[in-house]
Subunit: 425 residues, 2 copies
């Protein structure tokens, strides 16, 4: 282990973070389970990339079969990308019916911002102050936490608005958030930059997945449209039926975006990503920009992505996400009745968690406690994480085949760990 960490430091450089104080050396995965090099088994309550389960046989066999047959670029005709894009766009509402395939969600968001520029002739982008949309030079500036000194001065085009927070900020209908977006748009206009797009994760997952009633995003979307800008929904995390009630989280939020970006779960870990948009936006982008992605939409990536769609449908994983989200909320609410340290319980289908506070009145974040809980859970064989502005909210976001027996194990273990962990050291 020490040897691995030292080799990693030398070969990959410093500051390549690992999860946990005592990093895990994972060697095998299957369904919702992971195994480390010592043969210890972990219940995976964290990873959303292996969406239909680690090493899902349907996805693995689709990859193997296509890799044996052909893997090439999209400058030859191939049925795979057409069949996939047809099936993918069928999950969207009209007029979202055309797609670009890339390898990473970062690449998809990078294109989306250029599409907004091409459509509006402007460059100003509004995002929240606790989000993440990827790692290219341009989109890295959408994260307020990224150092602005490296990145070609593109931070000047971004405006960050206060992220929604249903536990601490009163905003039942999304009007307060919309007003913040409006202010940011006015600031962009006043500065001469102009407004091109609002980009958000419809579940605000990095922000701590606030509890919001259906349609909460409509006022902000209206504000963006009235100002002549686009609405980009980054569904890299929230998409592919995770929210349970809908296939795409923007549908739950009552909006039809101009562009929807997707990535992580799309190929169950195979590097495939993309975006779906309207014909007029695609046409404007394709006419003003010569875009080609060597690996994007290759037959193997399309086969992997197709198998994921099939698996979601065949196993009815959307219904499972809805059911498990509700059960998780019940179980977490039971824990909240038992432990004062739980200030709030939230869920959006197969994403759920609890916010830890030192005091329910002051809502002072129990960030250190959250950290200790996560590390203790890891040593009890349960993998999960934390997120939100205060890093005090449990981030529980398992593969979609997560069932009741897994939820029981998770919640029973969490109960036991919380019982033995002091809130203050």
């Amino acid at each position: 282990m020490t040897d691995l960490i030292a080799r990693r430091r030398q070969l990959l450089g410093p500051n390549v973070s690992t999860f946990y104080k005592d990093p895990v050396h994972i060697v095998k995965g299957e369904g919702v389970w992971l195994w480390d090099a010592g043969g210890n088994r972990y219940l995976d309550c964290y990873n959303n990339v292996p969406h239909v389960g680690h090493c899902n046989p349907r996805v693995v066999e689709a990859i193997c079969a296509q890799a044996r047959e052909l893997n090439t670029h999209t400058r030859y005709l191939h049925q795979g990308i057409l069949d996939y894009v047809e099936r993918l766009t069928a999950t969207f509402d009209e007029p979202l019916n055309t797609a670009i395939m890339t390898c990473t969600g970062s690449e998809a968001n990078d294109i989306a911002l250029r599409m907004a520029e091409a459509m509006t002739g402007k460059r100003g982008i509004v995002a929240t102050d606790a989000t993440y949309h990827g790692n290219t030079t341009l989109v890295s500036h959408l994260s307020k936490s990224n150092a602005p000194e490296v990145g070609y001065g593109l931070g000047g085009y971004m405006r960050h608005v206060e992220a929604p927070d249903s536990y601490r900020i009163e905003d039942p209908d999304g009007h307060r958030f919309a007003a913040k977006v409006q202010e940011a748009i006015e600031d962009l206009e006043a500065s001469g930059i102009g407004f091109a797009a609002l980009i958000v994760c419809p579940l605000f997952l990095n922000e701590g997945f606030p509890s919001q009633k259906d349609g909460w995003l409509q006022p902000a979307a209206d504000v963006a449209r009235r100002a002549g800008g686009l609405l980009i929904c980054d569904e890299v995390q929230s998409g592919f039926a995770r929210c349970g009630s809908h296939f795409w989280a923007h549908q739950k939020q009552g909006v039809v975006p101009d562009i929807v970006c997707m990535g992580k779960p799309m190929g169950n870990g195979h590097p495939v990503a993309g975006l779906v948009t309207k014909a007029d936006i695609m046409e404007r982008f394709r006419s003003s920009f010569r875009y080609f992605n060597t690996f994007g939409g290759n037959p193997v990536s399309c086969a992997a992505a197709m198998a994921v769609l099939e698996e979601i449908e065949d196993k009815d994983l959307q219904a499972n996400a809805l059911k498990m989200g509700r059960l998780a909320h019940e179980r977490l609410s039971d824990l909240a009745a038992k432990y004062d340290v739980i200030g709030d319980v939230r869920q959006s289908g197969m994403v759920f968690g609890a916010e830890y506070v030192l005091d329910r009145d002051t809502k002072e974040p129990a960030s250190d406690y959250a950290d200790r809980i996560i590390n203790a859970m890891r040593h009890r064989g349960i993998i999960l994480s934390k997120l939100g502005r205060h890093k005090n909210t449990l981030k529980i976001r398992p593969p979609m085949p997560f069932g009741e027996e897994h939820l029981d194990l998770l919640m029973d273990t969490l109960d036991a760990v919380m019982a033995e962990t002091p809130v203050r050291l």
Copy 2:
């Protein structure tokens, strides 16, 4: 076929280019061969991504075995990425000993420019006027041909110098090119932008792979270093032993770059890419920028990439590239003795071609003729393309297991096609 083209137009949008006037519908690949939906076989003299051959069994089995075992991100410890980076960096000269893994060459180049910014505090980049380095918002501006109106105004940081052209421009030792780079640097300094890096493909492949003696790039590298900038070699096309004499083309060019980017052939079509650099550059970048790539360096990508390295070594594909390049040069020279339309013959290992001209004195490009030859070759079952500033140079860049029997078939067919194709219509 018409149906496929119409579906493609509707699902993927306009201007998604295909090769050939009469696009090919490829369904199967094996080694240096491709098959279309009608069962016709093509000798692949074009594709460099399936580096060790289409559907190479070693690579396919490595992908399948690892996909069945585990595919996850690099925030857990995993031996795969360490073993791969160790073996990869061993092919480089000191002090190039540390790596970042990404999914595409575009992502690698996008990082390289930020590394140059982090090291120099400047943003000015020098590239040639006939190159291509990828598709992110930032690196797309390295292509002079990309429309500047979409791309966040980043074109202002780029300076494009006249690409080397051994057939038309006298520059035996690279001093003329170095002087052009010097001028561009001075222009960047005078404009207040400052100079961060020179980025080139060491074989100048998009520019038409000019004939250059070993060490030709040294003067330009010296100029860049004296000005305090970095030398970035984009070996996305030229790397992994293609040039035959060396594993990396920059070694043939007599330089040790600060950063080397790689991509296309790295995983034989699996979306894996990356860069190799020095420890101090990695440290500066990692300290000033929080970079994480979800799919980058995952166990399956590393297994694919490792199998490619093993296959190059076991099959001695570097020696094959050297031998085949020399034989190709002989065969193309024979054709040049027979056909006046061949103005120049060039090769850099497993990349070779001939430049077509209407007149050997005026060197007027025979671009239309090149186009007709390529389309005629496609109908004779040989896949190749054209490149260079005038699009009049045959681009022959087959998978590395290309052998003498394949070369014979290619050259005999080319001879026959040239014999029946009028130079002027």
